[in-house]
Amino acid sequence: MKVVAFLCRWCAYAGADTAGVGRMKYPANLRPIKVMCSGRVDPIHVLYALRKGASCVLVAGCHPGDCHYVKGNIQMSRRMFLLKNLIEFLGIEPERIQVEYISAGEAKKFSEVARRVVENAAGMDGSRLKAEWEEDHE
């Protein structure tokens, strides 16, 4: 069971760093991917993660108003809102996609979110979008 986390380099990733420095524990099956801005996360990245077997995808960006690129996080949240609705429409749990706002200082929030997302993913079966036939998923 794996969770892919797209973390904004300016805030959420820095938050994860702070959590690491502060020796706060968070589950190891969260696989962080650093992105320049959460707005960079294209729906295809999220779907690709699910296709490759991730149970859940977390997209974490700056708090509204704090985006380094002015409104990348707002665009991300709109995009993910729509994507969640669409996958739900197809019969896939919308909880597979999680959106959070975590600032660089919120180490505690990061570890809590990470734990919550992983626990939530553990409660679900494998994603229906996983391409079982491809046999490439370690």
């Binding site: 296709r51 609705n85 669409l86 197809l90 019969g91 229906r128 979008l129």
Partner: protein
């Protein structure tokens, strides 16, 4: 077609008579003008052909209400130059869906050639046998919920404006009322049929990208493209027609068209496997409208 002339335009992109439904047609000479038609058989959205149409000066184009919506969006996106177009608007009372007609023809055993006439309801006849069909049964599905059958942008309008109906997204709500499991069953049944012929994409006026994200073979290669670039292009989904790959294809298409889709229904009419492609676009449209309404209410 008295309202139409080649005086100020190089050519006119229009429709000509075809069996069952009209064919796209380019009128270049005065003799071509009488061949142009604009009626209930003109289902094809001609706006798509503007992307690779070559002409000097101006071109005339026939648009129905839905076609005009896609044209408007393309103008907004800078893909089409409004000043080079002479838009001939055609208020539309709905168009025939060829696939629906063919199903009736097969069922009734009609023989080609078949003529269709619009008398409130439709009449199909091959000379020997005549079949009357209820209007809703033959109209393209998008026509049943069309909000603006009269083009919103035009230079010439042919005929009287037609009142639109209120779109209540009943088809979307029907799916939404199902449980997650039921929805999954519905979509896995329909989307596993997809053969990835990409007709829905190719026929769509809004799908003009030279390089499509989901099609691993369609990459733009110029003499300057480096080997590194070609070698490292991500292949997001495979070419296999597997349910998951098909789903991601349709999800991505819906995401890319959200808020841009004119609901002309071409994708659905083009689909040889009768996948309700429109439904996904309409779901996105409905959600976006709800957000808009909510934001407006918040002031």
């Amino acid at each position: 077609m008295n309202e139409v002339s080649l005086e100020n335009v190089d050519l006119i992109l229009g429709w000509q008579k075809g069996e069952l439904v009209a064919k796209p047609f380019i009128a270049k000479n005065e003799e071509d003008i009488p061949k142009l038609i604009a009626d209930f058989t003109c289902s094809i959205n001609l706006v798509r052909f503007l992307h690779d149409l070559e002409f000097d000066g101006k071109a005339g184009i026939f648009v129905k209400g839905c076609d005009a919506r896609s044209l408007e969006m393309l103008i907004k996106e800078g893909k089409v130059d409004r000043d080079r177009l002479h838009i001939i608007g055609v208020p539309c009372r709905g168009v025939v869906d060829a696939k629906k007609a063919m199903r009736i023809i097969e069922m009734e055993g009609l023989k080609s050639p078949i003529s269709v006439t619009d008398e409130g309801d439709f009449t199909l006849t091959d000379g020997n046998k005549t079949v009357r069909v209820k209007r809703e049964e033959l109209l393209a599905s998008c026509c049943l919920t069309c909000r603006s059958p009269t083009p919103q942008i035009y230079d010439t309008l042919i005929g009287e404006p037609v009142e639109g109906s209120k779109d209540e997204f009943k088809d979307v709500e029907e799916i939404e009322s199902l449980s997650l499991q039921e929805r999954w069953e519905f979509w896995s049944d329909t989307l596993s049929r997809c053969i990835r012929c990409y007709a829905c994409r190719e026929v769509c006026p809004m799908c003009y990208c030279k390089e499509c994200l989901v099609d691993p073979t369609n990459v733009v290669v110029t003499p300057k493209t480096t080997a590194y670039e070609k070698a490292n292009r991500p292949v997001w989904i495979s070419k296999a027609s597997q349910l998951q790959e098909n789903m991601i294809y349709h999800l991505i298409r819906a995401m890319h068209l959200a808020g841009r889709c004119a609901d002309c229904g071409e994708c659905e009419r083009a689909c040889p496997m009768e996948i309700p492609v429109r439904l996904l676009m309409r779901k996105a449209e409905k959600d976006l409208r709800e957000i808009e309404a909510r934001l407006a209410a918040m002031g």
